[in-house]
């Protein structure tokens, strides 16, 4: 075997800045990380530290003031509550500022509902540790709820939440105000550190499986690397992957970025595997090596032995700062969809109110993204349909207006969608080009107005595109703009061409003029998996690449979040 060699890690951002109590708090989270990663949530989350304070709490003690303590829960999709932490008890205060922070994992692509309970802890419990307190023996001062994404999208990361009484205890429709809770979120320092690695294989020798090279007669070496993290159960969970270098015997891959939050800690062993790319998906393992980031850093700085190392600068991650995103929603319809009034159509509107595939897709993606849009105004267009009086249009305003395409909120999109369905006749062919061009136009208009915005175009389609090259041209032109495109394929059509647009599997998109896409801006996911109620929702895999696409854009232009 030749040497699969690693060139350098260079990282020096001090991660351990806090006292040991902070490390303790992080301890269990490594296990949580591991668990999450084993479920496929790798790389998309960051640790957020929540600090709480409250004002104007109710006074429940007779002789002194309340002794409040806050408990934080996350609410699951099914409404189940899970406690994630408690603060300490502050004595005799109606305006407490709790010191103890609660750490929660923030997922960009999931709606995370938080529930806060504030209790008055009776004085005879005061010697006890907070964890030991039985909550049903304490007096509830009030409860409040918010979304985690609401907090992190606030300019100062601080959100006031009104405390109300328990729902069942209030008979009136107006819940009484019981004070206000202020939640402040801060990203944990440790997860901001990013390491950039440049790896090269120093051995120019081809070492494919000998039997295969014989049968092929001509053996190509198309190597790529997969970097994985060992999780507690023993198996490896991939974190990142390099590009495939075609027929390259002496490969140097492009640098890969690994953030500490992805691997857990600098000491976590990483498995670096070198594969030979095989188009049938069964890639041959050429060799692997296990090293932690610390060891890689040593290798790179030492530069000893037969290895060749190239240290590359480190970067600081600003994962959670979304300047401003805007959601575009499009829908697509085709003759094959049939009549929306018949139940076999994908556009069938169920009188009982059950959403069809399009409505489901709009609801699920919209739910996650709407928090990042401050004015909640969405442009929405339809394509592949014939308005009552005219030829087939490939970009018309869903709301039926001729001038503006904006609608209010997710609800507005749903209304526009439903009304449009009855006002147009669905028709082919399927052209993406005009819609992408319309979105690119809006993105560049925002640039011209010097607005710091990032745009997201959501395309929902059930047909295979007919204008592949025009779509590619439009995408290449848009790759320089603050725009990402999400495509959801509904129905059972063959979506092979969509995979081509989603460049992470193959080569970069190229336009007819010879221009190449600057970065990958497309993510495609077929929606049919979710209809069975899959574990990881399609929306999550759809939004998976969005944070990194956003970051690539900002980093390339050296745009940093405003500090406020």
């Amino acid at each position: 075997m030749g040497n699969c060699c690693l060139g350098g890690a260079a990282t020096s951002q001090s991660a351990i800045r806090r006292s040991s109590s902070h490390r303790d708090a992080n301890g269990p989270n490594d296990a949580v990380d591991g668990y999450l990663k084993s479920r496929g949530y790798h790389g998309l989350f960051t640790q957020i530290e929540l600090s709480l304070s409250a004002s104007n709490l109710r006074d429940r003690d007779v002789l002194s003031k309340s002794d409040p303590m806050a408990v934080i829960y996350t609410k699951g999709r099914d409404g189940s509550l899970q406690e994630i932490g408690r603060t300490e008890v502050v004595l005799n205060s109606l305006n407490p500022q709790w010191i103890k922070k609660v750490i929660i994992t923030y997922h960009f692509e999931v709606v995370q509902t938080l529930l806060f309970h504030v209790y008055d802890v009776d004085s005879h419990f005061h010697g006890l540790e907070e964890k030991m307190l039985k909550l049903d023996e304490q007096q509830l001062l009030g409860e409040g709820t918010c979304l985690l994404s609401e907090i992190v999208t606030r300019p100062n990361r601080t959100l006031p939440v009104d405390l109300v009484g328990r729902v069942e205890s209030t008979s009136s429709t107006h819940p009484k105000k019981l004070g206000q809770l202020t939640v402040h979120a801060e990203e944990c320092v440790v997860s901001k550190t990013t390491t950039e690695l440049r790896i090269r294989n120093a051995s120019p020798k081809v070492y494919g499986p000998s039997d295969q090279s014989l049968s092929h007669g001509f053996y190509h070496n198309d190597p790529f690397l997969v970097i994985s993290k060992c999780v507690e159960s023993g198996h490896a969970v991939p974190i990142c992957k390099t590009e495939v270098l075609k027929n390259d015997l002496d490969p140097t891959w492009k640098p890969v970025s690994i953030s500490i939050s992805q691997v857990g800690s600098k000491e976590t062993p990483l498995i670096i595997e070198c594969f030979n790319f095989n188009s049938n998906g069964r890639h041959d393992l050429l060799g692997k090596v296990q090293k932690s980031l610390v060891e890689l850093e040593k290798l790179s700085s030492g530069g000893e032995g037969e290895h060749l190392f190239v240290p590359v600068a480190i970067g600081k991650d600003h994962q959670t700062k979304v300047l401003k995103s805007r959601l575009f929603v499009d829908k697509f319809s085709e003759t094959s969809n049939g009549n929306p009034r018949l139940p076999d159509s994908l556009h069938y509107i169920d009188p009982s109110g059950r959403p069809n595939a399009y409505q489901k897709a709009i609801l699920e993606v919209g739910e996650v993204l709407q928090c990042y849009d401050f004015d909640k105004k969405f442009h929405s267009w339809g394509f592949g349909a014939r308005p009552i009086d005219g030829p087939v249009s490939h970009c018309f305003n869903l709301n039926g207006s001729s001038g503006h395409s904006e609608v209010e909120g997710i609800h507005g999109i749903m209304m526009a969608y439903a009304s449009a369905l009855f006002n147009v006749t669905l028709a082919g062919p399927t052209l993406f080009g005009p819609v992408i061009a319309a979105a690119a136009m809006i993105a560049s208009q925002a640039l011209a107005a010097n607005q710091k915005k990032y745009f997201v175009l959501l395309i929902i389609t059930d047909g295979v595109i007919t204008d592949l090259q025009e779509t590619k041209d439009a995408l290449v032109n848009a790759s320089d703009l603050p725009l990402s495109i999400l495509i959801i394929g509904v129905g059972g059509a063959d979506f092979k061409e969509m995979e081509i647009l989603d460049a992470d599997k193959g080569e970069r998109l190229e336009s007819t003029t010879g221009r190449v896409a600057t970065r990958d801006i497309v993510q495609f996911v077929p929606f049919r998996d979710v209809q069975g109620g899959g574990e990881i929702s399609v929306v999550q895999s759809l939004l998976e690449e969005l944070p990194s696409q956003f970051l690539t854009f900002m980093r390339n232009r050296d745009i940093h979040p405003n500090t406020c």
Binding site: L245, D250, K254, L447, A448, D480, G514
Partner: protein, 152 residues
């Protein structure tokens, strides 16, 4: 608004990827880029020595482009003992970075497919372009390029 007769551009030649010579031979070393406005040779980068087929230059040039110029040509060349060889070239239409709704000082990050004399694809070049306001240089950067005639 005053009509412009020329535009000042700030062009950075960032890097190239997977450069190859005819017959799938990989470029070993010493590639550099010659920048031409229309077809007139104007500026050139230094040679990249250590990065094989994926050279990085990161060199910035301040150039003046007549308004009627429709494209820039980028030629990746390679210095050998027998002289300069053309590896591949790319055309950059000015419409990709000027016009439309783009604001004046927007930093365009662009990539182009390189093709050799026979039209075969052989790599990708990455550049960034910014148009500066009439004569005013927004960036404090220094032009590090050497005019071509001084180098040869």
């Amino acid at each position: 608004m005053a009509k412009r007769h020329s535009r000042d551009i700030e062009l950075t030649i960032i890097s190239a990827e997977s450069l190859s010579l005819t017959g799938n031979r990989r470029v070993k070393k010493n590639p550099f880029v010659v920048i031409k406005i229309e077809s007139n040779a104007d500026e050139a980068t230094e040679m990249d020595t250590g990065n094989g087929p994926n050279p990085t230059w990161n060199q910035k040039f301040f150039m003046n482009m007549p308004m009627n110029a429709r494209f820039l040509t980028l030629e990746v060349r390679c210095r050998k003992f027998s002289g300069d060889h053309l590896i591949g070239s790319a055309w950059v239409p000015t419409s990709d970075f000027d016009g439309g709704y783009f604001p004046m000082n927007y930093l365009h990050l662009l990539s182009y497919r390189l093709r050799d004399r026979n039209g075969e694809r052989n790599g990708i070049i990455n550049i960034s372009i910014k148009i500066n306001n009439n004569g005013q240089r927004i960036s404090q950067g220094v032009a590090v390029g050497v005019p071509l005639h001084l180098r040869y």
